[in-house]
Chain length 404, copies 2
């Protein structure tokens, strides 16, 4: 009789967004006259930029003619896109990354979830707390995380690195030595970042103990401050200890288009084995390339016209971030993030839990956010609002909050 992967059964239900959904539904039904403003989910609302739309139409037409039809794409991505990324995102910033170290995929979520697979089954992982749930969950499925403690909401074999107001949301180097360290910078959910000097400490540490940093830079486009690096490969030594994940979801609105990439430098080795070779093999075996049309859309993101248009989009969301940040400050909240990231992280009023505040904000202001405890135990007492709504809704939401 066949058996299932029992590690899957250890996963607690993913109640966060379903619980939010249920509470919002109940509120709507009880208050049919009230409009709800949703600043909970990290999904974009602005349409794709004109340069991207134009590139896609052109690519669709190519697919309709025999002479320009494209069948299977190269597993690792089209050369035209890999070269452009290597140049514009890395070489132009002084990072030594070659085109053949870029692996195009259907999104950073897939890459973040799948990358653990090329490492040993008994690898020890370290994560920031709070954190994007995919890092831990994908390792649970692979059997690396030990047992779940429902009381603390933690796994026995995971090193948690609390990121709270007390340490300025900068994780401390762990006492136990991890094999894999997940860092998300700018951070989801806290919206905070690490400076170049802070990140250098991590690169040096990883090289010293022989750990790999899995660096999720999905929100890189929102970085505004000079001393915050856009890539871990801006830091000397990163080529021997880091993998970087990038996404087109948030800089260019590709959440429903799906494209991302991983950067795996050839200098990242275990003995003689390049992690690069293993990831290439995984890509070749379990993936069949990203769509031609969508790789062409990504090329538009790097065009002069496209760059100008997506910068406007990022600016639009960052204006929202400022509205939220300033509005909360005026309303007397302790507020973090929102400067180099589209997420605003606030401390809930004394005596309330994250979920208490969720209920309070929904009932009193008709505004939906995300309780910080949903991202990990150290998220308790915090709350996330996102800048991805429309400007009008964002302004209205903050007016309501300030009026409480």
């Amino acid at each position: 009789m066949f058996q299932v992967n029992e590690n899957y059964l250890k996963l607690p239900g993913s109640y966060l967004f379903s619980t939010i959904g249920k509470k919002v539904k109940a509120y709507s039904e009880a208050n049919p006259d009230k409009t709800i403003i949703r600043l909970g989910i990290g999904d974009v609302t602005q349409p794709l930029a004109p340069a991207i739309i134009e590139a896609m139409h052109k690519a669709v037409d190519e697919m309709g003619r025999a002479e320009t039809f494209h069948g299977y794409a190269p597993d690792l991505g089209y050369e035209f896109l890999r070269t452009t990324i290597a140049k514009q995102d890395y070489q132009d910033r002084g990072c030594h990354i070659e085109a053949d170290e870029i692996f195009i995929s259907d999104g950073a979520k897939s890459d973040c979830g799948n990358m653990q697979e090329v490492f040993a089954a008994d690898s020890c992982i370290a994560v920031c707390d709070p954190v994007y749930p995919v890092y831990v969950d994908s390792n649970v499925m692979a059997g690396r995380t030990g047992e779940y403690d429902e009381t603390t909401g933690t796994w026995s074999n995971v090193i948690y690195m609390p990121c709270t107001a007390e340490n300025g949301f900068a994780p401390k180097l762990p006492e136990e030595t991890p094999d894999l360290i997940y860092l998300c910078v700018p951070n989801n959910p806290t919206g905070t970042t690490l400076t170049r000097d802070q990140l250098k400490v991590w690169v040096d540490y990883a090289n010293k103990v022989g750990a790999v940093i899995l660096y999720d830079a999905a929100y890189e486009a929102y970085i505004a401050q000079e001393d915050v690096p856009h890539s871990i490969f801006e830091i000397e030594g990163a080529r021997t200890c880091a993998i970087e994940f990038r996404s087109f979801s948030k800089n260019a609105g590709f959440t429903g288009v799906r494209l991302g990439f991983a950067v795996v430098p050839k200098d990242l080795k275990c003995g003689d084995v390049m992690v690069h070779s293993l990831w290439a093999r995984r890509h070749g075996t379990k993936f069949n390339g990203a769509p031609y049309i969508i790789q062409k859309a990504a090329m538009a993101v790097y065009s002069q016209e496209g760059k100008a248009q997506i910068q406007e989009q990022v600016a639009y969301y960052m204006r929202n971030a400022r509205v939220i940040y300033d509005g909360l400050k005026v309303a007397g909240y302790e507020v973090y993030g929102g400067v180099n990231a589209p997420y605003i992280w606030l401390k809930v009023p004394e005596g309330m839990t994250s979920w208490d505040f969720f209920d309070y904000l929904l009932e009193k202001a008709g505004v939906v956010g995300t309780p910080g405890s949903g991202f990990g135990p150290s998220g308790e007492g915090y709350f996330r609002l996102t800048a991805f709504g429309t400007y009008e809704n964002t302004v209205a939401a903050l007016e309501r909050i300030r009026g409480l």
Copy 2:
């Protein structure tokens, strides 16, 4: 110090298509005046049908306007597509499959490669020999296959089920009991199929021993004969023992567009655990939905207009298959497949290996095919030609072969 997944290191190099590439390159350089006809790779050559192109343009336009923009798709696929598939591919054929048993993905290769993950690490797999390499390779990566024997080209913990002319390319029930049985019908590479009665034997066997059949039906659209089922769910009892993989690559030319789906019936259970729940959890954790534009393209495949257009495309390729089949017969070869599949499988002349015949065909006729031994040890002595070329090239190739 971090360690890699050592199972990856056990994989032999994937020399098949790179060796073919090198040989073709060497021949071209030595014979610059000769034109080469490629009937080796299973990639389509006809452009996307007009109804699909139109649907994509429309969806691209929707993505460019705020009112019709689509962000994150549902992880498991849009309801409109799941409902259409359930009705047209299953319910209209009398199969009991519900929309929520359909999981939309970026292609059957991903699904075939990833599905093993929801089963126990010590599951025993059975595969047909010869076979599409992804089934075995993805299990090697997961550590299920034991050790590789270079002499025989087999893994110690894999049950191989030879499919040769001697048994009419129909695998025999294995003596050892497997947990997971991979069946690809119509078959890649042999182009052969199983009748309804033959498949019923497998379904009954799987239910009896408690095995799961992983049924790859990527070539379903090419089935011409009445007694060959289009889905394993046409067979009574399949809901408790089977998962089906489907692709839009070969029926609608989506090799470079990327879309497929897996059907996981809720009756497939290990104790109380539905495999359906585990696959849903995997999808939700390591995948972020297929692009809206491409799910809309798939909807066109099911429209009246689209159906007529893709039927023409399938007929086009099947005319090629007939040209190859008949041409080889006239030339005196033993030929199989090509009736319900776009692949033609031929026996190479006595005294030659598959690679000898590859060299012979390339040097004497300038035609590229795929040596059968590349698909597994029982493929030795056979050779694959594909019907996915243009009609003109296919006719020319067969004229050359007949002239040898």
